[in-house]
């Protein structure tokens, strides 16, 4: 059978939301090539299989090894490569997470096949092959990628590109438990420094509140954080703000920072330099607040307010607090 296999990631005992998006899309593609959608979970519990079934996954492989309770590049490559060589899926999908971006290129090389990174659209063509659309130059242009002569065809999708299908209650999935041999790990993880708990990475965030040079100083990001807390957002920054030392680099949105894809992007005091726009242009809805009515960001915004962010942000926080508590 021509199956689609997803790499389903979990965190703190729960599937990541991106895994459900991946499952939904895999089920749709599997129909297109006449197979079924399956999932590989590394180091997870059986409960995770139940979470995947309503989104169209028919079979879940739980790959277990005492050496893989922590992430390891070579260990994850071998675990997945062994499964793929055994089950021979046509298509393998991951969400473009920090882990997948680390080991999927290596997985593709080991299997002597191709990989499409950071995909925003997918379809099956007349040859029943995957056509994966990939933004280049940080989204300033798009290109179609096809892997015509080798299997599996592998793609990593940009989080929030497809959304999650409505769950089919009562659906079930077959669970196959496998002990996996991760082989020689070579690099050994000595320490894992946790980030803030519950903090969602910008690349996976559904709502982002971002500040630019007009934030004036690092301490002022507090007002963006207050707004973010009310609407469940992650906080980002422009390169100008990062280069001025107002925010750390892992908050930078843009061509030399993170490329983000939220459903709502709120830009405060960001002029909209080309390299910033490149990093957030696929956001579904863009709001810009800037003192300068001529700022290029307004050309990309769905809603614009010409005004002082230090006046607008606290009002916005208050108004959201009011309507969301109703």
């Amino acid at each position: 059978m021509a199956n689609v296999l997803i790499f389903a990631e979990h965190q703190d005992g729960k599937l990541k939301k991106t895994a459900l998006e991946l499952a939904s899309k895999a089920a749709e593609l599997a129909t297109g090539i006449g197979g079924q959608a399956e999932a590989a979970v590394i180091g997870g519990s059986e409960g995770l299989a139940k979470e995947l079934a309503p989104y169209g996954i028919k079979k879940v492989y739980l790959l277990a090894s005492p050496k893989l309770d922590k992430y390891n590049t070579l260990g994850f490559v071998k675990a997945l490569a062994d499964l793929i060589q055994e089950t021979k899926p046509e298509i393998v999908l991951a969400s473009a997470s920090p882990a997948a971006k680390d080991f999927f290129p290596r997985l593709a090389a080991r299997l002597n096949t191709g990989l499409a990174s950071d995909v925003v659209e997918m379809k099956i063509d007349a040859d029943k092959k995957l056509i994966a659309t990939h933004p280049v130059y940080s989204g300033k242009a798009l290109v179609d990628m096809k892997i015509p002569n080798s299997l599996p065809q592998i793609a990593m999708i940009r989080p929030n590109s497809f959304g999650t299908a409505a769950p089919q209650e009562g659906a079930s999935a077959e669970v196959v438990k496998k002990d996996t041999d991760p082989g020689e790990l070579k690099a050994e993880m000595k320490d894992l420094v946790k980030g803030a708990t519950g903090k969602i990475d910008l690349t996976e965030a559904e709502i982002i509140v971002s500040g630019g040079r007009a934030m004036k100083e690092a301490a002022n990001f507090k007002i963006l954080q207050d707004l973010a807390d009310v609407i469940g957002a992650s906080v980002g920054a422009s390169r100008a703000a990062v280069d001025s030392g107002y925010a750390p680099h892992d908050m930078q949105v843009g061509q030399t920072g993170k490329v983000v894809n939220p459903k709502l992007y709120l830009a405060f005091g960001i002029s909209g330099a080309i390299q910033h726009l490149a990093g957030m242009r696929t956001s579904k809805v863009i709001v810009a607040v800037n003192k300068d009515a001529e700022a290029p960001i307004f050309q990309k915004a769905d809603y614009g307010i010409v005004g002082d962010l230090f006046e607008v942000v606290p009002l916005l926080t208050q108004e959201f607090k009011r309507v969301l508590s109703e």
Binding site: G114, D118, D144, M189, V193, G195, Y303
Partner: protein, 256 residues
Amino acid sequence: MKIAVLVKQVPDTETKIKTKADGSGIEMEGVKFIVGPYDEFAIEEAIKTKEKNAGSEVTVVSLGPTRVVEAMRTALAMGCDKAIHIDDEGQNPDSYVIAKALAKVIADGGFEIVFTGKQAIDLDNSQVTQQVAEFLGWPQVMILEKIEVGGGKAMATRRVSGGAKEVYEVPLPAIFGCEKGLNTPRYASLPGIMKAKSKPIETKKLSELKGDAQAKVVYSNYRMPPEKAPGKMLSGDAATQVKELVRLLREEAKVI
């Protein structure tokens, strides 16, 4: 210590990108090229590693048309010792083929540590570094934020999501994909620029290095992304605009 740094020459981040009318690629005429921004951190780390380990040598390697020599001259001016240019012979290799060729150069050169940028900012695939590591059978650390090299191994910190970090002990040889923040790349000094002119650049051919590797990915239909329809500018005093914005986000855009 034999150190290599892999560099890609890419269009400047401020470049307006235009696709060719027939969708076969990007219009390269008039484009200003720079050393990949993340590769600059790799060059700096390679030179720092050389400075800390007496008797070391840094070789900069770049694949592409003749113009990439310019990017390697920049690296030589910063302090690399020699360069290897892999002439792409007008082919359009994919990540797989590029990684095969680079792995061959690294294996032949007997390098013990290799630095690269975490990604090139043109095709944005971020695949080549990991695939070079795979073809060499080496460990890799991507999104490198901190590294200490000594005693045949490295302690390397990698940044992951949400501010979390992973710290690895890695035996050498190994390859490292560098992230912004790892260091502050030095500027080339005037004497450095003068010296770079006489540093050796060896040219090798892609066709001879890649062996029988074939491209796995076919690229087609390069196009500009769809333009957004013009948005709404709100009016009134700040409080009125904020109320209207919240209403629109909830009732029209339905995103909150």
